[in-house]
């Protein structure tokens, strides 16, 4: 998969800047044509410090990361606060944009892990996401979003307890004996209707909405929070996924490498996810049809940073999926991809105060969504927006009694 030069199409950073320059709220020094509108220090608004009163008239938010987490969080924050914060400026910084993000490679099936490990918060975020997407199903936007319903099978070699999400999805039930005849080797399973949200469609849809709202995009690898703070960002939203450790070491964050083959098999109309308690989640074959191609997978390698496709993994996926679904033998392989799931024992969704010289800023972390980013994204975006709101509240409290608004 080519990472290549910064080909962003409509949102190349130079054109993003020129779009930004049309926005009325740009500081005057942006006309100097510098790389970022915020390099002019005298215009920078700071959170506190001896320089003067906090002004809510300009609020600069930098979102790092343009996968599903970064883009949805940016949209959520904009939608909730642009009316309350008149000069809310959101900028997205990322080294990779669609179709080169982790979210683009994922099949896009809404399904959490089987075991929520007692993490009720994440189950609630999953539900919030499902309900939000379900509400969009009948809208004319659905096709453009890459959103559509998908039914299918979860297969096991022995009975297992029902999952935390059984009442979130539609029509959850156990498989009948006749249905199990479809899958020799599996003796137990579930059937339910869930949703598909294809990253390759959803991310452009989010991007378009963000552009319409005046959000600016920059293709740039951010190497430190300080870099953005120096340029005047008031709040940073850290949605850097698997590479969050480069900004701030996080021993709990690891890559969960996956590899998939995309095939042309339009006769497959259900997802089929097998489970093997010994090999662990996603290390057992799965078949997930999309709007055009079917994703074959079943690789989960913790700690492996290699984004190159492995011939051995290809063989594993192909053989196991053909064994699961013999009709796949006639399928034509069209594409192959490897990606790194941002694995963490729990999602990191929290505030942190970052000091930069004498000033400080708030960072909201929203990363570590493992193999369920699309599944949980909206719940996390809303939670991040709530944290953003609490920061705004605190800033209001820090304001002197006389308002200059």
């Amino acid at each position: 998969m080519a990472r290549g030069p910064s080909r962003l199409g409509a949102w190349h950073w130079r054109s993003a800047l020129s779009i930004g320059m049309q926005a009325s709220s740009l500081p005057a020094c942006a006309a100097l044509g510098t790389q970022s509108p915020y390099s002019c220090k005298s215009q920078r608004s700071s959170m506190d410090g001896p320089a003067g009163a906090v002004s809510l008239a300009a609020m600069r938010v930098a979102v790092i990361g343009a996968g599903v987490i970064g883009l949805s969080t940016a949209l959520c924050i904009h939608d909730q606060y642009h009316a309350i914060v008149p000069a809310l400026e959101i900028e997205v910084y990322a080294d990779r944009y669609t179709p080169h993000t982790t979210s683009d490679g994922a099949a896009g099936l809404w399904q959490p892990y089987l075991d929520d490990k007692g993490n009720i918060q994440e189950t609630l975020w999953n539900k919030e996401t499902f309900d939000y997407l379900l509400g969009h199903l009948r809208s004319p936007e659905a096709e453009e979003m890459g959103l559509f319903p998908m039914s299918g099978y979860n297969l096991f070699t022995q009975p297992v307890p029902d999952p935390s999400w059984k009442n979130i999805v539609l029509g959850f039930r156990k498989l009948t004996p006749k249905e199990l005849e479809l899958f020799p080797g599996y003796s137990y399973g579930w059937f339910n209707t869930a949703l598909m949200l294809e990253g390759k469609s959803y991310l452009p849809w989010l991007t378009k909405r963000l552009q319409q709202r005046g959000v600016k995009f920059f293709q740039k690898k951010i190497r430190s929070f300080g870099e953005l703070l120096a340029e005047g960002a008031d709040i940073i939203i850290n949605c850097t996924g698997v590479r969050a450790g480069e900004l701030q070491p996080d021993p709990e964050l690891q890559p969960g490498r996956g590899q998939i083959i995309k095939v042309l098999a339009p006769w497959v109309k259900h997802f089929i996810i097998t489970h093997d308690t010994e090999s662990g989640i996603y290390n057992s074959p799965y078949v997930i049809p999309g709007s055009k191609l079917v994703t074959l997978g079943g690789i989960f390698q913790l700690g492996n940073w290699n984004e190159e496709n492995s011939p051995r993994d290809h063989k594993t996926i192909w053989e196991r999926c053909c064994q699961l679904l013999p009709s796949l033998q006639k399928a034509k392989a069209v594409d192959e991809w490897s990606g790194l799931r941002p694995v963490r024992h729990r999602v990191r969704l929290e505030r942190e105060t970052i000091h930069h010289g004498l000033s400080k800023s708030e960072v909201i972390h929203n990363y570590g969504h493992g193999g369920f980013g699309l599944t949980i994204h909206w719940g996390c975006a809303m939670a991040t927006a709530r944290l953003f709101g609490s920061i705004l509240q605190e800033k209001k409290l820090a304001r002197p009694p006389q308002s200059h608004l």
Binding site: P140, L182, H270
Partner: protein
């Protein structure tokens, strides 16, 4: 010993004498039976003709099977249908019989679906919903325990269909045409069968070259054999490109439906009793599209919309029986296998098996007569 040989030669002479005697010439074809394979002509190359031919060629390998038809895929009535295995009830056929035919068809296609042949045969497994605007009676359809996972829809599921009060969710099979018909044809030829393009105006035209005729002419039976009990029920459908759809949706009234297949989605439809009109009606097309979009709004983005019209060969009961046609001295055994109306795909393999069984009975009867003639 001498005496035995003499007896045999005198028997041979007798057979020769009988064969050549003008009054007994009508036995000629039947005598042919014991010498070579029984020759079966199947009239009609739609789903019913092809499946019957394949079934006969497999259950009675000693016979030769030839399909004779004026229309072939993609121009048969079968090609217009979506090919969903959701039966319709024939008022004149006992329910246990329909259930048996459906089960045989379902099991047969289920096995193909689970094999690597599925894509070439055009077979796919599809889940979906049948929804009703009025609360339905508690009665389950006769096929509910044959399809997979049949159950009532939940409240949450019904929210997707705001105007509907009740529904059923299940998983069933679908046969896509022309793939399935082409696959059957290939199978028939693999078994040594032949296919001839020809219009048959009179079954007696076949008498010289065939021993038994299997009549699978669908709506054509009305003219071919004068069955006035069969009548067309016109169906107009749209075939569209909407690959993101993978669930079927069927209004319980049977008029509006969305059936996603391998390469296209069939949107329907109409049930116009007595209409022979094969020309598409643009007003009907618009009506179908609008109604289906109301069920599934994303269909607004469907591309490549094509319209097809078919005449369902409707009858109170499927005619599946044998008949000996007589014309003077001549006799022609016919096995009728037509009148499947809306339920062709759902019943085809069951009726094909029954037709093959009836052909077997005809062959036995002919061979009986033949051995009687020898004596």
């Amino acid at each position: 010993m001498f005496w035995t040989i003499g007896w045999q030669s005198s028997t041979r002479n007798t057979i020769q004498y009988l064969r050549n005697h003008p009054a007994l010439k009508f036995h000629q074809n039947w005598c042919g039976l014991s010498m070579s394979k029984p020759r079966i002509a199947v009239i009609g190359a739609g789903l019913i003709g092809l499946s019957a031919a394949v079934c006969i060629s497999e259950t009675i390998p000693t016979c030769s099977v030839t399909i004779i038809s004026d229309e072939f895929t993609p121009n048969t009535t079968s090609d217009v249908a979506a090919g969903m295995l959701i039966p319709h009830t024939y008022p004149g056929t006992p329910i246990y019989q329909q259930k048996q035919w459906f089960k045989e068809t379902f099991d047969y296609l289920f096995a193909i679906n689970n094999s690597s042949e599925a894509p070439s045969a055009g077979i796919s497994l599809v889940s979906g919903w049948q929804i009703f605007k009025t609360s339905s009676s508690a009665e389950l359809p006769f096929w509910s325990d044959i399809v997979l996972g049949f159950r009532a829809m939940t409240e949450m599921e019904l929210k997707k269909f705001p105007q509907y009060r009740f529904g059923q969710a299940f998983t069933t099979l679908k046969c896509d045409c022309p793939s399935y018909l082409l696959w059957l044809e290939k199978r028939l030829k693999g078994n040594g069968g032949e296919v001839h393009a020809k219009r048959i105006a009179n079954l007696w035209d076949l008498q010289n070259n065939y021993d038994i005729v299997v009549n699978c002419t669908g709506i054509g039976s009305r003219q071919l054999i004068g069955d006035l009990k069969i009548y067309p029920v016109r169906g107009q459908v749209l075939k569209v490109h909407a690959p993101w759809l993978n669930h079927f949706i069927r209004d319980g009234d049977g008029l509006s439906y969305i059936y996603p297949g391998i390469h296209n989605v069939t949107l329907g439809g109409t049930r116009e009793k007595g209409s022979w009109n094969l020309s598409p009606d643009p007003n009907i097309s618009k009506d179908i599209f609008d109604k289906c979009c109301a069920l599934e709004p994303s269909l607004q983005k469907a591309q490549d919309i094509k319209v097809r019209v078919g005449l369902r060969p409707s009858r109170l009961a499927v005619r599946l029986q044998k008949e000996i046609l007589v014309q003077g001295e001549k006799k022609l055994p016919v096995v009728h296998n037509y009148g499947h109306g809306s339920g062709g795909f759902s019943m085809h393999w069951g009726t094909a098996k029954e037709a093959a069984r009836l052909v077997g009975e005809c062959i036995a009867t002919l061979q009986d007569s033949l051995s009687k003639a020898k004596l």
